[in-house]
């Protein structure tokens, strides 16, 4: 072993720079990818769930809500897409909790890295999960007869919008993940947030059919704006006001939950 550099010869940074934070985030994301390679079953949900949900809801509700399955698909596919991908983002919190329970997270805390990196890296890798779930949903939709009017560009933009917003929402579940005692708790708590948010929206039924109080919530629900934005992009190729609202909502969620999550993570002994 070679002699070490003396302490007074070392260049010491008082704080991690933004460039370092980005670099550390990508390293952590790469670590998460390596872990997926070892345990591919972790990603079974993003492949199987879109198939199951899409087929199930299309044939279950198609006739009742829109008269037939084909007429229902343009409304359903964006709805089911948003619901599936957001459900997938719950796993972020669960896996983060499991990861934090291992000793390696303690080592991360002793390293001179950006404090946000272990979290932002994991969340970055998860955008790949969302992309897979998005592609699967559109593929299954196409297989059962969905022909988006927005063309490929509209579909890709719609997919991107879903991935960005889900990434933003995953900060909520990451926050729950950092705070909760166990992975099981994370799951239970997250689904209590998730179900009202995704089902009490315009995902499956037009909000006009809802009682006034519920309609008030469903219309206000940011998930509804996201779904409307996705519908516009995928079915007509138009960028509507709802895309803006969805992105604004996403930005607000990140602005609140990213700092909260990092702070909670830093406090956790």
């Amino acid at each position: 072993m070679t002699a070490i550099t003396a302490v007074d010869q070392r260049v010491l940074n008082p704080h991690p720079s933004l460039a370092q934070a980005l670099r550390d985030t990508f390293t952590m994301a790469w670590r998460a990818l390596l872990r997926v390679r070892r345990t591919p079953e972790q990603w079974a949900d993003v492949v199987l769930q879109p198939i199951l949900f899409t087929v199930m809801f299309a044939f279950l509700f198609g006739g009742a809500i829109a008269g037939d399955v084909q007429t229902y698909l343009p409304a359903l596919i964006p709805g089911i897409l948003v619901q599936s991908v957001i459900t997938t983002s719950v796993v972020t919190g669960v896996q983060l909790r499991e990861d934090m329970d291992t000793g390696v997270f303690d080592r991360f805390r002793t390293l001179p890295i950006a404090r946000i990196a272990p979290l932002s890296g994991a969340l970055l890798t998860d955008t790949l999960r969302y992309a897979i779930a998005t592609a699967m949903t559109f593929a299954v939709g196409a297989a059962i007869g969905y022909r988006p009017g927005g063309g490929l560009v509209g579909v890709v933009l719609a997919g991107l919008l879903v991935v960005v917003c889900s990434w933003a929402l995953s900060w909520i579940f990451a926050f729950v993940g950092v705070l909760a005692r166990s992975a099981t708790t994370v799951q239970a708590m997250s689904f209590m947030v998730l179900f009202p948010l995704t089902f009490l929206s315009n995902a499956f039924v037009p909000t006009e059919t809802l009682p006034t109080w519920l309609r008030w919530f469903a219309d206000l629900n940011p998930v509804s704006h996201l779904i409307t934005g996705v519908r516009e992009l995928a079915n007509t190729g138009q960028v509507g006001a709802d895309v803006g609202w969805a992105l604004l909502g996403a930005a607000v969620v990140v602005a609140i939950f990213a700092p909260l999550t990092v702070r909670a993570y830093m406090r956790k002994a």
């Binding site: 072993m1 070679t2 002699a3 070490i4 550099t5 003396a6 302490v7 007074d8 070392r10 260049v11 010491l12 940074n13 008082p14 704080h15 991690p16 370092q20 670099r23 550390d24 390293t27 952590m28 790469w30 670590r31 390596l34 872990r35 070892r38 345990t39 291992t102 000793g103 390696v104 303690d106 080592r107 991360f108 805390r109 002793t110 390293l111 001179p112 890295i113 990196a117 002994a269």
Partner: protein, 325 residues
């Protein structure tokens, strides 16, 4: 930012950590000279790991202050982390990745390029005899291999200060002495090592100075020789043929040598500090007069076990692992 040379690698004053009702660390002072091996010795639950965690910026102290090479652990945690490598209970490796993947990731996080990171990881795996297992999943690693990988991970940045939290707990004697050699090599390269241990012989073998911690407090501090000297120059061990004679042996030691002896838990052996070997004859004569028969008698240079016994007033910690001290 350049730093003035500082003599102390670690300076802690009155460190306190409270968990609920439990004062896990209750006013610990430590001074570790740069370039030395410093041992923190104590039984399970004495507060060793908690103390180390505070110095490693893992836990925020509830009281007191600590500096690493002059940098405050609370005010400048990022600087302190650049000077530290931590190994042991407090920090570990990723079970789901291979040894190489682990080291490359830590290398990247420590600012090395991909290339430098791979080279460093290969170099360390070689140095720690892990090259063959480099790409195997960690699940198949033995305890000794894991510990070596753990240590390798904390040496990537060649930090000037290394914390080893119970580096040999649970290792077999051979792996243990290999680990000791590695630790001595580290100091030879200019590093400072702060290690915790519950094994007295480990502290005796490795450390330049030792702090004995019990119930969250430093109860004794000094070089191994100073600590041993504090319990007398040598000690006398007596084994009564019948354990029922033990009280009479103690009484004889008290009257003849004028010191208090200690008894092992089983009551089979009596140990007394011995300042003047000439007085032993008097003691033996007194014992024969009292009709006490001895099964064994020996004179030993003091060990840290006796230091521990004398200082804490309790029996030496019984290691719960397969390795007996």
């Amino acid at each position: 930012m350049k730093n003035q040379p500082v003599p102390w690698a670690v300076e802690a004053e009155g460190l306190v950590k409270v968990f609920g009702e439990n004062r896990a660390v209750d006013g610990v002072d430590l001074r570790v000279a740069a370039g030395s091996i410093y041992g923190v010795l104590g039984p399970n639950g004495a507060g060793k790991t908690t103390t180390l965690s505070m110095l490693a910026t893992l836990l925020r102290p509830d009281g007191g202050r600590a500096r690493v090479f002059g940098h405050d652990v609370v005010a400048e945690p990022h600087v302190v982390r650049q000077l530290l490598g931590v190994t042991g209970q407090a920090a570990s490796v990723d079970e789901k990745l291979s040894a190489t993947e682990n080291l490359v990731i830590f290398g990247r996080l420590l600012g090395l390029s991909w290339k430098a990171s791979r080279a460093k990881s290969a170099e360390l795996l070689e140095a720690f005899g892990l090259t063959e297992a480099a790409n195997r999943p960690l699940a198949n690693f033995s305890g000794g291999m894991r510990r070596r990988l753990d240590l390798a991970a904390s040496l990537i940045a060649q930090p000037p200060l290394i914390f080893l939290d119970e580096p040999t707990t649970g290792l077999d004697p051979r792996t243990r002495s290999q680990m000791w050699d590695t630790i001595r090599d580290l100091v030879a390269t200019g590093s400072t090592v702060l290690l915790t241990t519950q094994y007295l012989d480990e502290a005796d073998q490795l450390a330049d100075r030792i702090a004995v911690i019990d119930h969250g407090r430093v109860v004794a501090e000094g070089t191994p020789d100073e600590l041993k000297a504090s319990v007398g120059t040598a000690s006398l061990h007596l084994e009564p043929a019948s354990p029922s004679d033990t009280p009479r042996v103690l009484a004889a030691i008290d009257t003849v040598l004028g010191v208090r002896a200690t008894v092992t838990a089983e009551g089979a052996r009596v140990t007394a500090p011995m300042a003047d070997p000439g007085r032993v004859t008097d003691l033996l004569v007194a014992l024969r007069a009292a009709d006490v028969h001895l099964a064994g008698l020996s004179v030993q240079k003091p060990t840290l076990d006796e230091v521990f016994l004398t200082i804490t007033g309790a029996g030496a910690p019984v290691p719960d692992q397969e390795v007996a001290a």
